[in-house]
Symmetry: C2
Subunit: 141 residues, 2 copies
Amino acid sequence: MTLQNLWLGVIGAAILVAGAIVLQLNRFDETGVASWYGPGFNGNLTANGEVYDMYEVSAAHKSLPFGSIVRITDLETGKSLVVRINDRGPFVDGRIIDLSYGAARLIGLSGETPRHNGRGITKVGIKVLVKGDGYYVKRPE
Amino acid sequence: MTLQNLWLGVIGAAILVAGAIVLQLNRFDETGVASWYGPGFNGNLTANGEVYDMYEVSAAHKSLPFGSIVRITDLETGKSLVVRINDRGPFVDGRIIDLSYGAARLIGLSGETPRHNGRGITKVGIKVLVKGDGYYVKRPE
């Protein structure tokens, strides 16, 4: 192996590593802690005016427009699911998304599985698939 | 203009037209008639086990997996909206999608607007944005 070949190899490896870092950075729009909410809110109106059904698959986010569709990936287990944002929250530092009971159960976060040690929270990455139009449900007076 | 230039022009135009046709064909996954359903079903369970709320934005489709996100474009008005498939239907020949009252009102199809002559149906194009995972809501016995 000549010195020139060695240099070409080093440069090639550097480009590959840089590419992998860029891919990784683009993989999620946001990362942080996910929690879930349920029984105390079942039947209440969500922030966009829907009736909250804890058994359905939905989620609360602090700022994404209502109706946004996001893929949530559990960074501890690799499992992911697609949810629709219809509520506001969670209002706890470091938490970025609050899952419905139905969504938490799908991703194994509801406490019925030992995977998360009963803590009911996990580290997740969020990728916005469709940006919502912010629609608020209009009901008759 | 030489004969060669004329031929180049003709070939260029043909390529443009072919491209436009391909774009148009790819614009929608399906086209057909949209209708809407509401009062008689409000509060019933949808085909995927959700509580049907006619004031929310949702839709019934004959075959798309539950949770699929589709953009529906009204071909008479050009208006479009994004809905989530949570029910089965419509079971009438030629109809491809049944909108909730909330969705029908957003797109101007609910009969409160004169746009569709009170027929409550319109020609639409459907584009699947996210294919659903077919999730069925699980409730306690």
